[in-house]
């Protein structure tokens, strides 16, 4: 690796939580650092920066991704959603999943929570609401505080309206 060479920069135009963003950033800037430091949304957390713990999960064009494994340059032209986008804007209320986490004591230190919420937000509940599927879905996110039980309970509760036939759409 030649680290003394000048660092090249790239232009990034991206929509983050519905807001257009335009920045010239170092080519090597991670998406996670772009979101946290350049855009200033610190709700996305870095738990390992090697793509394992899932804390930095955000949604890029509908898919959950680990923002520590992507470059900012790769989201040029994309739509990015972060945890800050989940609760209804301006209101004091929470999204149904956030509320279910709160009601079921599904977070303690809260550092991993955004990653869980974004993983959940990225899928179609009708395909994932069976308890075994919930466990499968969440097995890519580490939590060190809760022992997971209350998280699974919260998800099951929030998705209880989905009977698997796509009957509800308020999740």
């Amino acid at each position: 690796m030649t680290i003394s060479e000048p660092i090249s920069e790239v232009d990034v135009e991206v929509t983050v939580n519905g807001q257009p963003q335009r920045h010239r950033v170092p080519a090597r800037l991670l998406l996670s650092d772009y979101i946290r430091d350049t855009v200033g949304l610190t709700g996305t957390h870095l738990g390992c920066e090697h793509g394992y713990c899932g804390a930095c999960t955000v949604i890029v064009d509908g898919d959950a991704v680990r923002s520590c494994l992507m470059l900012a340059a790769q989201v040029d032209g994309a739509e990015v959603r972060t945890v800050e986008d989940l609760a209804p804007a301006g209101a004091d209320s929470l999204s149904p999943m956030q509320q279910a986490f709160h009601d079921n004591h599904a977070l303690q230190c809260g550092f991993c929570t955004a990653g869980f919420l974004m993983t959940l937000e990225s899928v179609d509940p009708t395909e994932w609401n069976e308890p075994e599927r919930v466990v499968e879905l969440l097995s890519g996110n580490l939590c060190r505080c809760t022992g997971y039980q209350n998280i699974v309970t919260a998800v099951t509760e929030a998705w209880s309206a989905y009977d698997g036939s796509g009957g509800s759409d308020d999740g």
Binding site: G43, G47, A87, H102, Q108, L138
Partner: protein, 806 residues
């Protein structure tokens, strides 16, 4: 002192004992929590530490010129630059002094030891520069010791030249009654039990931000103990304590690892002071795995004397702690003492002779991890009981029943001086057995048709010392905590305490306590924790102390506040003080329909309308309480015993496992917990502590293991790919039940519950797998119980037979 909970409750809708929703949730749920890494200050510089890649070496030279030549690099500091910084104190007299410098001076003793600090305008540049400093470092490697045997071998390379050997301490009490027991007993056996190296691993790594303005140094640290960090920074940087402010913002878990005061807690503030600019260091995960303390690395050599009927007559246990390099403040020596103090669990067993040894090796310094030595001891005791049961043909459950403490035996003094004032030791076991019966039935029927699967049960009856003394751990601090309660002119309540909030819900619990004691709604209570400038001196959150310390200190302060407020209200009501009562936020004359006086009226009189105060009364409505638990001792008594915990919670864990014989795969089918932490402030929070603790215990029982190369003491782990943290797919469902045996001498009977969950799983899993594989004589003596370990045990037992007694 007798327990009189009701006299302190002044709210008709009692909040203590209810799962009041957490006020800590909203920030993290909406992405608006504020962790250390979220703090950004104009002009802030980024710090990256350069760490040793050698396990043991002299640093011959460090060439920083290439790094300093990089654009954006502000400075590179090494130990020589920090000559004006004092050494970390060696407060404990009986352990080998390590004279730790914030940056290693000339000799590194573990991979990960920090020896230089790079400061740059951004993290990317700082990392690049750190790589250049690393490349510019010349080492002279020294021979390494990677484990206890190597460290204690004759002629072993020494970590500290001024020590006689690598042994830091060796405390060996002698008990003649144990000798006697061994002479009398029918049989003896010896065994070695091993607990492997793990770590607390909070999802948020450590971090420090420092800024100095107008002579005041403000430090945001992901610490569990802000006041202790303040005192240590002030000492080492030679600053008056009032000029140092330490804040912990939102903390992403600690689990003991953040109780220590690390080099970065000193180096980053020093950099901010030296450069006159704010500075930030955020630990990355790979650093975290080598630079935050490890734990649980213990080996226990036991001799057990027992009779034909299964009675265990005496045990000698030499507990040996692998301290790593020992270069950590406070030292990581205390857990092994706790292991020995708690080793007999909830059992009536006094004939224990426990020797405690600490040894340094070329590995990451060992320190605190939730459980703090208790799981290691519980593992030993439960494995001993199972072994004796097997050797004598005694039923494992009956043997435990015979040994468990019964209600009439309390208060009971343990072999090391621990005072079990109350608890449900037998009752918890019986209740857990009831819960186990259907679980066992389910597992047996599930695998009835699968000859490759065996089902087994494992047991653990433990005690959990709560609100311990910190004196034996730190050699310096004690074990109390303070709170200040204030009622403002508008009647709002503010509680500030030295406790920390690191995820458990202490902020919510403090609001519940103050609400009940002052007769207001929790919504009317503002809670301030984790800020040395806004809260009184406290030792922070560790040692299952939050609930008891908050209760004690908030209660003391609240009672004083109510006394004063009652005098003011009586004056306003023109009544005798003794006739005025406080209920639901209103002071009124008992039995009278006269209008009442509210907290707002009392608060306004106290702070603003002095004309409404009784003659001669000092204005103001703010009181403090410094709580120190009655039974808590800080030093050994004449007989070498100590009750180093204010109270002792207890519990039973039982696990039902299935083992696939052909692959060694272990599955926990059901995990049952009955626990007793005295009066419960918030059941949801307590259950959350149990769930999380058990999950961490299972991590240690089955997955997590820091392994080192025996020849080089190099870590064989670098990431989450190697250090296996359980996901929700590995953590089984848990079934919980509770007893509430109030601590007779604590305010409201509160004990504490932070650590107990971690205690049971190693003993339970090893016991259950050994039970499942009993036909092969498998008797596991160490964790983690991996498929490889299970298969090896089956093969070994199949060839050697079961470990037999003499």
């Amino acid at each position: 002192m007798s327990l009189d909970i009701d006299s302190h409750i002044r709210h008709s809708t009692r909040h203590i004992g209810r799962s009041v929703p957490r006020r800590e949730d909203r920030g993290p749920l909406t992405g608006r929590g504020r962790y250390v890494a979220d703090i950004k200050i104009a002009g802030m510089l980024e710090v990256v530490l350069v760490r040793s890649i050698e396990a043991h070496a002299r640093i011959v030279s460090i060439d920083t010129s290439e790094a300093l030549a990089m654009d954006g690099v502000q400075a590179v500091f090494t130990a020589a630059d920090l000559a004006d910084v004092k050494t970390f104190p060696d407060y404990i007299p009986y352990i080998g002094p390590v004279k730790q410098r914030p940056l290693v001076e000339d000799r590194v003793r573990y991979v990960g030891a920090p020896y230089a600090a790079v400061v740059a305008v951004d993290r990317y540049i700082a990392e690049d520069a750190a790589a250049l400093v690393a490349a510019g470092t010349t080492y002279e490697p020294l021979p390494t010791v990677a484990d206890l045997d190597q460290a204690l071998a004759p002629g072993a390379p020494k970590l500290y030249d001024h020590w006689e050997s690598n042994c830091s301490f060796d405390v060996a009490p002698h008990k003649p009654e144990v000798d006697h027991a061994f002479k009398q007993a029918d049989h003896t056996f010896t065994e070695t039990y091993v607990s492997q190296r793990q770590t607390g691993l909070p999802m948020e790594t450590r971090g420090v931000v420092a800024d100095i303005t107008d002579g005041t140094l403000t430090v945001w640290s992901s610490t569990q103990s802000p006041h202790m960090v303040r005192s240590t920074i002030a000492l080492m940087l030679d600053m008056p304590e009032p000029q140092v402010r330490v804040i912990h913002p939102t903390i992403g878990g600690g689990f003991g690892t953040k109780t220590h005061i690390y080099p970065e807690d000193i180096v980053v503030p020093w950099i901010a002071r030296r450069l006159g600019r704010p500075a930030r260091w955020i630990e990355d995960r790979m650093e975290n795995l080598v630079a935050s303390v490890h734990a649980r690395d213990q080996r226990h050599t036991v001799e057990v004397a027992y009779d034909d009927d299964g009675t265990i007559r005496g045990v000698r246990c030499a507990s040996m702690l692998d301290m790593g390099s020992g270069e950590i403040f406070m030292p990581g020596t205390a857990p092994v003492f706790v292991t020995n103090a708690c080793i007999t669990g909830g059992y009536d067993f006094e004939n224990m002779e426990a020797r405690t040894i600490g040894v340094v090796t070329n590995k990451t310094p060992a320190g605190a991890y939730r459980g703090f030595g208790i799981p290691e001891g519980a593992f030993v005791m439960e494995r001993i009981i199972d072994r004796v049961a097997r050797l004598t043909g005694t039923d494992r459950v009956d043997l435990r029943r015979r040994m468990l403490l019964r209600p009439e035996q309390k208060p009971y003094v343990m072999h090391g001086g621990g005072r079990l004032d109350s608890g449900s030791h037998s009752e918890s076991f019986e209740r857990a057995l009831e819960m186990t019966a259907p679980a066992l039935e389910r597992a047996r029927s599930r695998y009835a048709d699968d000859p490759d699967v065996r089902v087994g049960v494992g047991y653990c009856n433990y005690v959990e010392p709560t609100s311990p003394s910190y004196h034996l751990t730190t050699g310096h601090w004690g074990g109390g905590d303070a709170a200040t309660v204030r009622v403002d002119p508008d009647g709002s309540v503010r509680v500030a305490a030295g406790l920390s909030e690191i995820g458990q819900g202490n902020t919510t619990a403090a609001a519940q306590l103050a609400a009940d004691m002052l007769g207001v709604s929790p919504d009317d209570v503002t809670v301030v924790l984790g800020d040395t400038e806004r809260a009184p001196y406290g030792l922070g959150s560790w040692g299952s102390r939050g609930a008891m310390m908050l209760t004690g200190s908030v209660l003391l302060a609240s009672e004083r506040l109510v006394d004063k407020a009652r005098a003011i209200a009586a004056h306003m009501l023109e009544a005798a003080e003794a006739d005025v009562v406080l209920t639901d936020g209103a002071f009124h004359v008992a039995g009278s329909d006269q209008p009442s006086v509210s907290w707002a009226e009392v608060g306004t009189a106290a702070w603003i309308r002095y004309v409404d105060l009784p003659d001669g009364m000092e204005p103001g409505l703010e009181t403090s309480g410094y709580y120190h638990p009655e039974n808590l001792q800080h030093q050994l008594d004449d007989t070498g015993k100590i009750n180093a915990a204010a109270s002792w919670s207890n519990g039973t864990h039982i696990g039902v496992v299935s083992v696939r014989v052909s692959t060694g795969e272990v599955r926990i089918e059901d995990y049952l917990v009955v626990h007793d932490c005295g009066t419960v402030i918030n059941p949801a929070l307590v259950e959350g502590q149990v769930h999380g603790g058990v999950a961490q215990g299972i991590a240690g029982a089955m997955y997590e293991h820091f392994q080192y190369d025996p020849d080089t003491a190099n870590p064989r782990f670098a990431s989450f790919m190697d250090y296996l943290v359980p996901t929700c797919a590995e953590v089984p469902p848990m079934e919980l039940d509770h007893f509430e045996s109030p601590a007779p001498e604590q305010p409201l009977g509160v004990k504490g519950c932070g650590e107990g969950g971690t205690v049971g799983p190693p003993a339970v899993v090893a016991g259950a797998v050994s039970d499942a594989l009993s036909q092969w004589g498998v008797d596991l003596t160490e964790c983690p119980v991996t498929p490889v370990a299970v298969r090896a045990a089956i093969r070994a037992a199949g060839t050697a037979g079961a470990g037999a007694g003499s």
